[in-house]
Amino acid sequence: MTGHVEDRREDWEGPVPVPTGATAPFWDGTLEGELRYQECECGHRQLYPRAVCTACGAEDPPFEASEGVGTIYTYTVCHVPGEPGFAERTPYVVGAIDLAEGPRLLALLDAEPDDLEIGAAVGVRFWQVSEEAAIPVFVPE
C-alpha cells in the first residue's frame, strides 16, 4: 500500500483512463493504492507502461511497486481548464514528478500553488475515477 484511495467517482467529470494491455497492471494497482512502474530484467525502469522495454527491447517488462514518493521536477498552475470537467477546479496544479525509483510521471498536484516549489518532496494519493482506474495525485509531504 503506497497511497490512500479516495472514491471520487460521483463528482469526477474529467477524462478517465482506459486500461489497455500494457497499462492494465498499472491501473489495477491504482485501485489498490499501489503505484506501479515497469522494471525490466535489464534493470531499466520506465513509466508510462509500454509493451517493450525502451532500453533492451524485452517484451512486457514486469511491474514493481513504487514507494509512492518523489520530488517535483516542475509544475504549472493552470488558470484555463485543459480538459472537460476542470473548469470549476481552476486554478489547479499539474506537475512532473520524479519518483524515488527514477521514472517521471505527469500528475495533478493537490496543493495550494504558493506551497509548492521545484525539488519539494511529494507523496502519492489516488482518486478513483471509474470502475477501472484511480488516478495518481500527489500532495506535499
Binding site: 493552470c78 484555463v80 470537467g85 499539474v94
Partner: protein
C-alpha cells in the same frame, strides 16, 4: 549536394476564414506561392503537406489541386516543424532527379473551425497518463518547461516578456500582423494568467490561414530566373511527443542537435546569420531555441533577449514578421517561418522592416510540446 531553391512563398488570407476549410487555405496559399515563383500548377511534380484534418493529407491536396501523377508525396506529421523537416526530403528527392517543383503547404481553421475532440474517450494510447491531469495543452506543457528553466538558470518572467515585446515591434511594421499595437514588459506581466508562468501575451495567437513555399531544383530556378534562395542545411529530431514528462531535459530542446548539424551542412557560423526566424509558440519557445541553436550559452537566453537584441535594429533580428505571438498562428507555424526567411533574403521589404543585406537566415520549427525540432539554413546565392 544539390540544394533546392526556395522559389516562391505566400500566405492565404489570415485571421478568420469562416468560408474556407484547411484544404481551401492550403490550396490558396499554394497557387499564390506558385504565382510568386512564376510557375504553374501543371509544373508541380511534388507536394508536401502537414496538419489539416485528413490522415492522408498529401493525397487529398494532390487530388484537390488535380496534380498529374506527382512523383514526390510527403505527409510526415511532426507538428509545427514538419515544413522544415520536408526541406530535407525535398533535397534528397531533387538529388535523385525525382522532382523539380515541390509545393510545401499548410492550411488550417484553428480559429473558426471545429475545436479539438473534447470527448472523454481516449484518442491516443498515452492519453490515460496525460488527460486526467487536466493539463492545459499546449500552453501548460510549455509552461512547465519554462518553469524548470527559471529554476535552473534564474530566467525571469520579465525576460520571457522581452521576447513578446521585441516581436510586437516587428509586427507593428507588418500590415498582415493581427496584433500591431506596441506592448511593454509590464503589459505582458499584467495580461491574463493562462498557465503559470505564462500570461496571455506569452502565448501565440490562434488564427485561421495557410502558407506555402515552392522548392525547385537549381535547373528549374535558373529557368524561372528567381533569386537563388538555397536550402543550405537541414536537420530534424524529436525528444518526445504526447507527454511533456517524457522530455528528458525540459531546458534543452532538439534544436541543440539540429542547429549544429544544419549549420555544418551550410558551412556557417552564428556570425554569418543575418536574420533568425524561430518558431515562437510561446515566449519560452523562442528563448530556449536561441540557446539551443547556440546564439548564446545555455541558461543565458534570458539575458540575451533583454534590451531589444532581437528587435528591429537589434543584434539578431528575429521573427521579423511578428511571429506566432503577434502576426498569425494557425496551428503549425513552421511554414510561415520559411516564408518570412525567404522574403528577408530576397529583400522584399523597405525601411526598418527589411534586415539590411540579409544573406543567411535560420528558419527553425518546433512541433508538438517542444517535441520536434527542425532547423533550415537558407542562403542567398550571390
Amino acid at each position: 549536394m544539390a540544394e533546392p531553391i526556395l522559389a516562391g512563398v505566400a500566405e492565404s488570407d489570415l485571421g478568420e476564414t469562416p468560408d474556407r476549410n484547411w484544404l481551401d487555405n492550403a490550396a490558396v496559399a499554394t497557387v499564390r506561392a506558385l504565382e510568386d515563383a512564376g510557375c504553374t500548377l501543371a509544373e508541380v511534380d511534388g507536394v508536401a503537406v502537414a496538419g489539416g484534418d485528413d490522415y492522408m493529407p498529401a493525397l487529398v491536396l494532390s487530388e484537390y489541386l488535380d496534380l498529374d501523377e506527382p512523383s514526390f508525396l510527403e505527409g510526415t506529421e511532426i507538428g509545427g516543424s514538419s515544413f522544415e523537416h520536408f526541406c530535407g526530403h525535398v533535397r534528397d528527392a531533387m538529388a535523385r532527379d525525382e522532382a523539380d517543383v515541390v509545393v510545401v503547404a499548410y492550411g488550417s481553421t484553428s480559429k473558426t473551425g471545429p475545436g479539438r475532440d473534447q470527448s472523454l474517450e481516449e484518442t491516443h494510447p498515452i492519453d490515460g497518463f496525460v488527460r486526467p491531469t487536466g493539463l492545459f495543452r499546449p500552453p501548460g506543457a510549455y509552461a512547465m518547461a519554462a518553469r524548470r528553466h527559471m529554476h535552473e538558470y534564474g530566467t525571469t518572467e520579465e525576460q520571457l516578456a522581452e521576447v513578446a515585446v521585441a516581436t510586437r515591434e516587428w509586427a507593428s511594421m507588418n500590415p498582415k500582423a493581427a496584433q500591431r499595437e506596441p506592448i511593454s514588459v509590464e503589459d505582458v506581466l499584467e495580461s491574463r494568467e493562462i498557465a503559470e508562468p505564462f500570461n496571455l501575451l506569452d502565448c501565440c495567437l490562434v488564427s485561421d490561414g495557410g502558407g506555402a513555399v515552392v522548392l525547385v531544383s537549381e535547373e528549374k530556378a535558373a529557368e524561372l530566373g528567381v533569386p537563388e534562395i538555397a536550402v543550405a542545411g537541414v536537420a530534424s529530431t524529436s525528444t518526445h511527443r504526447q507527454d511533456i514528462s517524457e522530455m528528458p531535459d525540459m531546458t534543452t530542446t532538439g534544436a541543440a542537435v539540429t542547429g549544429p548539424k544544419a549549420f555544418d551542412q551550410a558551412g556557417i557560423t552564428h556570425d554569418d546569420v543575418d536574420v533568425a526566424e524561430i518558431y515562437d509558440s510561446f515566449t519560452y519557445t523562442a528563448l530556449v531555441t536561441l540557446e539551443d541553436l547556440g546564439f548564446c550559452e545555455k541558461g543565458e537566453g534570458g539575458e540575451f533577449v533583454s534590451g531589444g537584441t532581437t528587435a528591429p535594429g537589434g543584434e539578431l533580428p528575429m521573427n521579423t514578421q511578428g511571429g506566432g505571438l503577434s502576426y498569425c498562428h494557425p496551428g503549425h507555424f513552421g511554414v510561415f517561418v520559411l516564408i518570412e526567411a525567404a522574403r528577408q533574403l530576397r529583400g522584399d521589404y523597405e525601411g526598418d522592416r527589411q534586415v539590411d543585406d540579409a544573406e543567411v537566415a535560420v528558419a527553425h520549427g518546433t512541433g508538438g510540446l517542444l517535441s520536434s525540432s527542425s532547423t533550415v539554413v537558407l542562403r542567398r546565392e550571390s
